[in-house]
Symmetry: C2
């Protein structure tokens, strides 16, 4: 073992910014072009590897008059921000099983400035996810598979999903702690499980953490220690409910000199105060409670939108009564 591994780095580690994609879950993806462009430039300047600019989801399911462009990531909208993307930053978009018209809406890679399609599914949607992975791969994209909400499914179900996904051309499989419920020991076991399931396939393991228990950054570190080479973060930790692993924390930990934290502080100073006036995220008490109870944060989000928002005891009592 190295005497002080925290000051060295593993060149294989790549960082994905999902500020617009996950942050957009708070405001129906209604960010201004100015902000999306600022995040793009920040990612380029900071040496970040991927920027997930939104979802490739269905306009039939999500009404276009109620959602911003980043719910759909049409080619013209993406190019309005990144042009032909003359940078080393790769562009990613997420497609949800059950919520996307992936056969038609994901166009061949040679016509798109998007580089990576991240297929998101629940375990019971693994079959559709496999079709989506194959489709995106055949169309020429790099592909990732994000199996969501794994803290609420049985080990055997995860094993089954991983066995199937291992046979697909997905480049990465991501450990997703949707509810911010996992402790480090669980993250360690899951990364190990994903690693074993993908052995010999060349697949990388990713980590996507939520911050309900103030563990998003810590669990990301734990996943890295256990071998994950694909890590998600967002500017100022913006994201649904409690938010995600903060980019400013992550880049402070990663020692690869290709990363530069200063552009992130610049974005936070120049753009985040306005965003924070409009939307709320962070490890607030109701999100802590749902994280501890391993529940979807929707009840906590509703509570924070109500007049009782600061009554954390009342929320705790409600959750415990409903268990």
């Amino acid at each position: 073992m190295q005497p002080a591994p925290w000051i060295t780095y593993r060149p294989e580690i790549k960082v994905l910014d999902c500020t617009i994609r996950d942050g957009g879950l708070i405001n129906n993806h209604q960010f201004t072009d100015d902000f999306v462009r600022a995040v793009y430039q920040t990612c380029v300047d900071a040496g970040i590897d991927y920027m997930e600019i939104g979802y490739k989801n269905s306009g039939r399911i999500f009404a276009p008059d109620k959602h911003g462009a980043w719910k759909y990531c049409k080619e013209d909208d993406v190019r309005r921000i990144v042009g032909d993307n003359p940078s080393n930053l790769k562009i990613a978009a997420m497609a949800d099983a059950g919520k996307s018209d992936w056969k038609t809406d994901i166009i061949p890679k040679e016509k798109s400035v998007i580089d990576l399609i991240r297929v998101a599914c629940y375990v019971h949607q693994t079959a559709e996810a496999v079709d989506m992975i194959k489709d995106a791969h055949q169309k020429g994209y790099e592909v990732s598979c994000n199996i969501m909400a794994i803290s609420t499914v049985q080990d055997a179900e995860i094993d089954q999903a991983l066995e199937v996904v291992a046979q697909t051309p997905a480049d990465t499989v991501v450990v997703v702690d949707s509810f911010g419920a996992l402790y480090s020991e669980q993250v360690a076991m899951l990364v190990e499980k994903y690693r074993k399931a993908g052995e010999g396939t060349g697949k990388e393991i990713g980590i996507h953490a939520h911050n309900n228990q103030e563990l998003a950054f810590a669990n990301t570190i734990e996943a890295i220690i256990r071998g994950a080479n694909r890590v998600d973060a967002t500017m100022a930790g913006i994201g649904r409910g409690a938010g995600n692993c903060s980019m400013e924390l992550l880049l402070g930990f990663l020692r690869n000199p290709k990363f530069n934290i200063r552009p992130v502080w610049k974005l936070l100073q120049e753009h985040m105060p306005k965003i924070k006036e409009e939307v709320e995220w962070g490890p607030l008490p109701p999100y802590i409670v749902t994280g501890q109870m391993n529940q979807h944060p929707r009840s906590a989000m509703a509570w924070r939108a109500s007049d009782d928002r600061d009554k954390c005891l009342d929320f705790y009592d409600k959750v415990m009564a409903d268990v």
Copy 2:
């Protein structure tokens, strides 16, 4: 190894609340009796093992007209809150090497409602700390030794301090991450180092974490996994600068049924909004920067008190220019 250790518990683990002691560093310990009494009652109701009610520090060094009672913890003041303390909760107070008149101000245990004296020192004050430990032990107290700011001293210095402290009657030696600079791998190594140094002495290892990098709770978990049985936390994470490990997070993790999280949510709902109007703490950008740079948070505290408080890029540039 256990298949799911995060749902079991180790009965040896004891929790110390340092809300008033560490939180008081933000407001010169000028809490109302009403709040201190509420924290006391919360600790009793929540099954917490120790409440650190403040410092036993010198009235010569800290002007009594500028500091509240909890900077000194005179016997009458403590008894005004806890009476004869007819509960299972033990009362603790911290005495700083170099800042306390411990020979006279710490009275014999049989005359005091305080149970535990926590001796705090920097490594270069180890010699005085040893005298303080012996003194408090002879007076009849349980004694802990908190060596501060270890993230900035040489390994050999820590080894030397631990070798000396191992020969004292201190019951506990606490790993203290004063600057919120440590990552989990460092915490693991330090707990192991402290454990080895105390081998055969029966001393317990403690952990006191700061939240600059949102790692206070995670590092506390890591220390527990590595064998620490004495853990510090505060209500809502209140504490100097970025604050401490939050009690509401910690009690959600600990599975010993003697702990009860509900009184903590009650305190947070009924008393914390007022406190938050008066003082500020949390992993705000300037504290992240000093944590990443392994610096004392004093420059970040000054920045947050200035008109430039929200200019995180300017603070980053200042810190980097001054390195």
